[in-house]
Amino acid sequence: MQHVYANNYMIVCIFLALGLLLPIVALTIGKVLRPHAPTAGKQTTYESGIEPFHDARVQFNVRYYIFALLFVIFDVETVFLYPWAVAFDQLGLFALIEMLIFVVILLIGLLYAWKKKVLKWI
C-alpha cells in the first residue's frame, strides 16, 4: 500500500516535469526554427499604435485587493468545510449545527462586505 502511495505521487511529479518540459522543449525548438530580426519598433510596448507614455505599472483600484482579501477568507473557510464534508457521516447533526454557526459567522462577514458596498465593482 505504501508503494501505491509513493507511486501515485511519483506520477504527479512526472506530470509536473512534463508540464515544464513541454514548453521548454517547444520553445527551444522554436528558437532554432524561428527568425530573429528585432527592431526598435517591434520592441516597443503596444499601446494601440500611439507612443507608450509613462509607466504601465499604474496604481490599481483598491477593490482588487479587497477582493483578494475576501477570497483569502472564503477560500480558507473551505479548509474547514472539506474535512467536515468528508467526515460528515461520522459527525452527524451536531457537526452540521456547528458548521452552520461557523458559516453564518462568515456569511455575516459577507453581508458586511455587501452592506459596505465592497462587493460593488467600480
Binding site: A6, V62, Y65, V72, I73, V76, V79, F80
Partner: protein
C-alpha cells in the same frame, strides 16, 4: 523512494523557519516581511503535520492544529495586507524603513 524520516521534515521546517525569521527581521519591503511571517507559520505547520504522522504517538491532532493555523495565518495576512493598503494610501510607501513618523 524510501520512507522519509521525521528528522528530514524537522530540518526542513527549521530551515524554513530560519529563512522566514531572517526575512522578517531584515527585509525592508513590508510585503516580503508578511510573506516571511507566513513562511514561519508554515514551518510550524510542517512540524505539526510531520509530528502528526511520524511523531512519538502519531495522531490526528497535529493536522487539526495545522488546519487552524492555516486559517489564522490567512486571517493575519489579510489583516496585514489591509493595513498595509491603508498605510500606502496615506504614505505612498511600503518600505518599512520609511514608516517612522513616530520618532523614538
Amino acid at each position: 523512494m524510501n520512507e522519509v524520516s521525521l528528522s528530514a521534515y524537522l530540518i526542513l521546517a527549521l530551515i524554513l523557519f530560519c529563512i522566514g525569521l531572517y526575512g522578517a527581521l531584515t527585509k525592508r519591503n513590508t510585503v516580503i516581511v508578511l510573506i516571511s511571517i507566513e513562511l514561519m507559520l508554515n514551518a510550524a505547520n510542517l512540524n505539526f503535520v510531520a509530528f502528526s504522522k511520524y511523531g512519538v504517538t502519531p495522531n490526528i491532532t497535529g493536522q487539526v492544529f495545522s488546519l487552524f493555523t492555516i486559517t489564522i495565518a490567512a486571517a493575519e495576512a489579510a489583516v496585514g495586507l489591509a493595513i498595509l493598503i491603508s498605510l500606502y494610501r496615506n504614505r505612498k510607501t511600503i518600505n518599512i524603513d520609511e514608516i517612522d513618523s513616530m520618532k523614538r
